[in-house]
């Protein structure tokens, strides 16, 4: 005699196979070691303090002028080489470019006096010189991402080295517009928020504070990525991507105190770069000095660096060849999906002296 279970009509059946996969993958996420990143073959060209200059040789060299990547000081640059087939660097080396990447490293307490000018003059300039010498090329293409783009633009404005092309993506140039609550930006500008004492005491801003700062500006409470994972955990590809992305988003680096002070006071507060008043060493970083070919990329779904922050660079430089492109992506997904390589190649291929 069979008895129908009660309420079966009320509850739709579960897909047991899917559920098995979901919980198996979740178990993996919780127990397996962190995913491996940085697959593209590379060699160390130069090292100073914690910074390293990496060289990723082209699979089959098609262009004379190499690409030199400058990444943000807030995060680790492995987002540019996060996974095979989705890696920006791999995409570019496959397309025939020699790629150099400056990894700033994680500053320690002894680096508390490193300011933006030291980073630019002693680290970036030296590594660009090394890359030019190592590649044997006569010129170089600078590619800056996020704050790395700001640093690349500042450097390009005072550079004596032959920079043929400057590419900046999701770059904050004009700090009169800031993501996050407007009263916070107002408080920063009128002196209600002052970081000087905090910088003096801490020396180096801890990575947890940097992460908290970004969280506070974007979404202070953030748990939807976990529910998203729970929802799509049966898809192994999604789980892999999620793990890499989650590793990177929580992997902030500490920030050298003096650089943090300059960034907050000179850029966030006084917006000196746009005004041409930013001093690097004994030179004014005037964007008007930039004559290299310029390519600016903004992403439509970027909620960290807004389009009005990037656009003003187009009018501030003296470059004759300048292009602006708005791509359908987010602040991180532009690099995470490898789309950045495609966009860079489209523009740089005709400007990199094809062999």
């Amino acid at each position: 005699m069979t008895v129908d279970a009660p309420f079966t009509d009320l509850f739709p059946p579960l897909d047991y196979e899917k559920e098995m996969k979901r919980w198996k993958h979740l178990f993996q996420v919780l127990n397996e070691p962190e995913p491996k990143i940085g697959h593209t073959p590379k060699t160390e060209v130069w090292r100073k303090n914690k910074s390293v200059l990496w060289h990723y040789p082209a699979k089959q060299k098609k262009y004379e002028i190499p690409l030199f990547f400058v990444y943000s000081l807030f995060n680790k640059p492995y987002i540019l080489d996060i996974a095979p087939k989705a890696s920006v660097i791999e995409g570019l080396t496959n397309r025939g470019y020699d790629v150099y990447l400056l990894d700033w490293g994680t500053p320690g307490y002894e680096d508390k006096n490193i300011g933006l000018d030291t980073y630019i003059q002693k680290y970036l300039r030296t590594s660009v010189k090394r890359a030019i010498r190592h590649s044997g090329a006569q010129e170089i293409t600078l590619v800056g991402y996020c704050l790395g783009g700001t640093i690349a633009a500042i450097y390009a404005s005072i550079a004596e080295e032959p920079i043929k092309n400057l590419i900046v993506a999701t770059v904050p140039i004009d700090f009169s517009t800031l993501a996050g609550p407007d009263k916070w930006a107002e408080g920063l500008r009128n002196g209600d928020i002052n970081v000087d004492r905090l910088v003096d005491v801490y020396g180096v801003i801890p990575s947890s504070y940097v992460e908290a700062m970004f969280r506070a500006v974007s979404a202070p409470i953030y748990f939807s990525h976990y529910t998203m994972l729970l929802n799509r955990a049966d898809d192994q590809l999604y789980v892999d991507k999620w793990r890499r992305m989650n590793k990177w988003t929580t992997d902030h680096v500490s920030f050298a105190g003096e650089a943090f002070r300059q960034l907050t006071n000179d850029l966030f507060k006084e917006n000196k770069l746009v005004k041409g008043e930013l001093m690097i060493g004994n030179k004014y970083a005037d964007l008007n000095n930039i004559k290299s070919n310029l390519f600016v990329i903004s992403s439509t779904k970027d909620n960290l660096v807004l389009e009005p922050q990037s656009l003003p660079i187009m009018d501030l430089v003296s470059s004759k060849d300048k292009t602006y492109k708005l791509v359908e992506a987010g602040h991180i997904s532009l690099a995470l999906t490898g789309l950045f390589a495609v966009v860079v190649d489209e523009w740089a291929s005709v400007r990199s002296n094809p062999l």
């Binding site: 897909d15 002894e110 002052n194 004492r197 202070p220 409470i221 729970l230 929802n231």
Partner: protein, 188 residues
């Protein structure tokens, strides 16, 4: 077999969690986006910095008394290493400069050597030409002396010829003429 679409309870869970997250963040935004919060946050940061500063000072004093190195001491040592690294880098760049100068100079030397080789080649050629010319000159001198000799011989021959002519003249003069028979008695 059931024709119903399988139930995924996490679909709705995800949707609700997103809505909830957004609402909480909007609420926090409303609470924090005002001057009072900004000032309070700054006061909190200042207080935190002040206490930490005091704590560090005491720690430094205590470490000094106990003869224990502090983070500052270690940072100073690390800075020395970084400075040394910088100096080595400057030296390396200077070596590059020297290498470049040497390369340029060796290229110049190579050019000079090339030119010298050409000159040597040309000199050798000229020398050969000179030897050849000298030989030709010697040959021509020999020829000249031979010619002189021939001329001398010819002169001699000419003299001889003249003498022969003279002798011939004399001989002709000394030879008596045959009497030519003339008249009646010629048939005798």
């Amino acid at each position: 077999m059931s024709t119903k679409k399988p139930n995924d309870p996490f679909d709705s869970f995800k949707r609700y969690s997103e809505i909830m997250e957004k609402q909480i963040n909007d609420f926090i935004f409303l609470l924090s986006n005002n001057n009072e919060f900004v000032k309070m946050a700054n006061t909190g940061t200042e207080a935190n910095s002040r206490y930490l500063e005091m704590f560090k000072k005491n720690q430094e004093a205590l470490a000094g008394a106990l003869n224990i190195p502090t983070r500052n001491d270690l940072a100073n040592i690390a800075s020395l290493t970084i400075q040394t690294e910088g100096k080595i880098e400057t030296l390396e760049e200077q070596i590059w400069g020297l290498q470049d100068t040497l390369k340029t100079q060796s290229k110049e030397i190579e050019t000079v050597v090339e030119v010298s080789k050409e000159i040597i080649k040309l000199t050798k050629q000229l020398k050969t030409e000179l030897v050849k010319t000298k030989k030709e000159l010697a040959d021509s001198k020999d020829l000249q002396s031979e010619l002189q000799e021939i001329k001398f011989e010819l002169n001699k021959l000419n003299n001889l010829k003249d003498e022969v002519e003279i002798l011939k003249g004399h001989v002709e003069k000394d030879t008596p003429k045959e009497p030519v028979l003339t008249g009646a008695d010629s048939t005798k």
